[in-house]
Each structure stands twice: as structure tokens, then as C-alpha cells.
């Protein structure tokens, strides 16, 4: 899995390619933490290239969302969620805990 981040004026875009499981989720957590540890809490996660996500990846998402939403200082938004990954989010009851966008441009515009 590869994770890249892009910093914008109002927030950050994080993009992952590949499978996110217990082996690779720590890489995603590290990138998410590196953003929030610098005091930036508005993040869009572009999931276009995420082929697979287990509960290890979901743990990173919920943990980051808790950090971002604390004191209403920001939010982790999800964009372009593939059907297979959406099914896992739905099963975990995560769909109502995130703003989910089909269009990446629209998500970034909400930063």
C-alpha cells in the first residue's frame, strides 16, 4: 500500500493505493497522525485506490475521526469510497459517522 498526503491552505488530502489490513494500516495511521499532530484537523481521505479494507483500517478511520472532531475543530471526510470498502463501513455502522462524497473535488471544496 502507498499513502501520499497533500497539504492545502484549509486542510489536507490523504490518498492511499492498495489493500489496508493489519499489515499496512499502521502506515495509514502514521500519515493521519502526522497531520493531526501538527494541529491540522480538516482531512479528506481519497479512497479511489483502496482495493480492500479490514477492521484494522476502520480502526484508523474512527480513531482519526475522534481526534479531528474533538472540540468541533475539524473532520475526516471520505471521498470516492469503492463499493467493497463501503460495505465494510456500512457493516461496522460507520456510514453515519463520516461525511462521504462521491466526488473528490466536492470533498476538497468542503475543507
Amino acid at each position: 500500500m502507498e499513502v501520499t498526503t497533500t497539504q492545502y491552505k484549509n486542510g489536507d488530502l490523504i490518498t492511499a493505493q492498495g489493500r489496508i489490513d493489519s499489515s499496512t494500516a499502521p502506515q495509514l495511521a502514521e500519515k493521519m497522525d502526522s497531520i493531526t499532530n501538527e494541529g491540522r484537523y480538516k482531512i479528506v481521505f481519497d479512497m479511489t485506490g483502496v482495493e480492500y479494507m479490514s477492521s484494522a483500517g476502520l480502526r484508523v478511520l474512527i480513531s482519526t475521526q475522534k481526534t479531528c472532531k474533538r472540540y468541533n475543530r475539524g473532520e475526516l471526510m471520505l471521498a470516492c469510497v469503492p463499493e467493497r470498502v463501503f460495505n465494510a463501513l456500512d457493516l461496522a455502522g460507520f456510514v453515519q459517522l463520516f461525511s462521504i462524497y462521491d466526488d473528490l473535488v466536492e470533498a476538497v471544496a468542503n475543507l
Partner: protein, 156 residues
């Protein structure tokens, strides 16, 4: 023995098996292995994905709880097809660990109350038709072996 299931089915083929190190890097291999078995079983794409996810969660749980983290030990995965079932058995010889007694998370909780972990067993229960645990003696003088059986029915 764990491989004898209560279902009254005769196996169409002999079981396929793979033994992998108890490391997270093995997850790709175990998912690919059960993916192939589920496809050979004639399951549709969505069902194949569900089996892959459930087995990933089970394998991860064994590493984390039975072996207490990544180790040099091994985990065996056995896939057996019957007329309308795929039976996946994961065997390890770590600490006795029965995941079926783990309490389920509250998936309806709001963000503040939502716990970060605990989804693995919930996923297994939701995605598979049956999840059974048994404690068994292992090969040779190995004792304290766990066997987790995950059963998926083919779509009708």
C-alpha cells in the same frame, strides 16, 4: 476433530491447505488462498469478498490474541468444499483463545461512545453463516491448539 462438521454433506474434493507464518504480512496470502477456494466453490464476487474479510479478521485475531503479536509460529488454513458450503478452518497452537466469547461492539453508538476496536469478531459473525471454536491437541507433542471453523453457504 474439528474437521468433522455436524453438517451432513460429503466433501466433493479433498481439502486444500496452506501453512503461513503468524505475521501480518501473511494476510495477503491467506486472503488469496480463501479467495481462490471460494471462487472454485462457485461463489459470487460479493460472497468471495465476505469470506476474504472474515478470514482476514480471524487470522489477525489469532496473531494478536493467541500468539500475543507477530511471532515465528505458524497458522494453518484449511478449505473444504461441500455441495453447498465452504468450510474454512484456521488452526494455531498458541494460547487458548476463544474469540466467540468476545462481546460484540455497539455498532449503533455515536462517535464519542464508539470504541475503536472490537470489530473483528463482529465481522466474522456477520459475514459467515457459522463460526465455531474448538480447543484441540495438535500434531506430535503440540498441545493447546485452537481451531476456528468458519462456514459460508453458497448463495441460493
Amino acid at each position: 476433530m474439528v474437521e468433522s462438521t455436524p453438517e451432513k454433506h460429503s466433501a466433493k474434493e479433498s481439502p486444500s491447505r496452506i501453512t503461513l507464518p503468524a505475521r501480518f504480512a501473511s494476510l495477503d496470502s491467506v486472503r488469496d488462498f480463501v479467495h481462490q477456494a471460494a471462487e472454485e466453490c462457485g461463489m459470487g464476487h460479493k460472497t468471495v469478498c465476505e469470506v476474504e474479510l472474515a478470514v482476514d479478521e480471524a487470522f489477525t485475531n489469532i496473531i494478536e490474541h493467541s500468539y500475543g503479536g507477530e511471532s515465528q509460529e505458524q497458522i494453518e488454513c484449511i478449505c473444504r468444499q461441500t455441495n453447498d458450503l465452504l468450510v474454512v478452518v484456521l488452526k494455531d497452537c498458541g494460547t487458548p483463545f476463544d474469540p466467540t466469547v468476545v462481546p460484540e461492539p455497539d455498532v449503533g453508538a455515536n462517535l464519542e461512545k464508539r470504541k475503536v476496536g472490537g470489530l473483528g469478531m463482529f465481522f466474522m459473525n456477520q459475514l459467515m453463516d457459522e463460526v465455531r471454536y474448538s480447543f484441540t491437541s495438535g500434531p506430535g507433542d503440540r498441545k493447546n491448539c485452537n481451531a476456528l471453523t468458519l462456514v459460508k453457504r453458497k448463495e441460493c
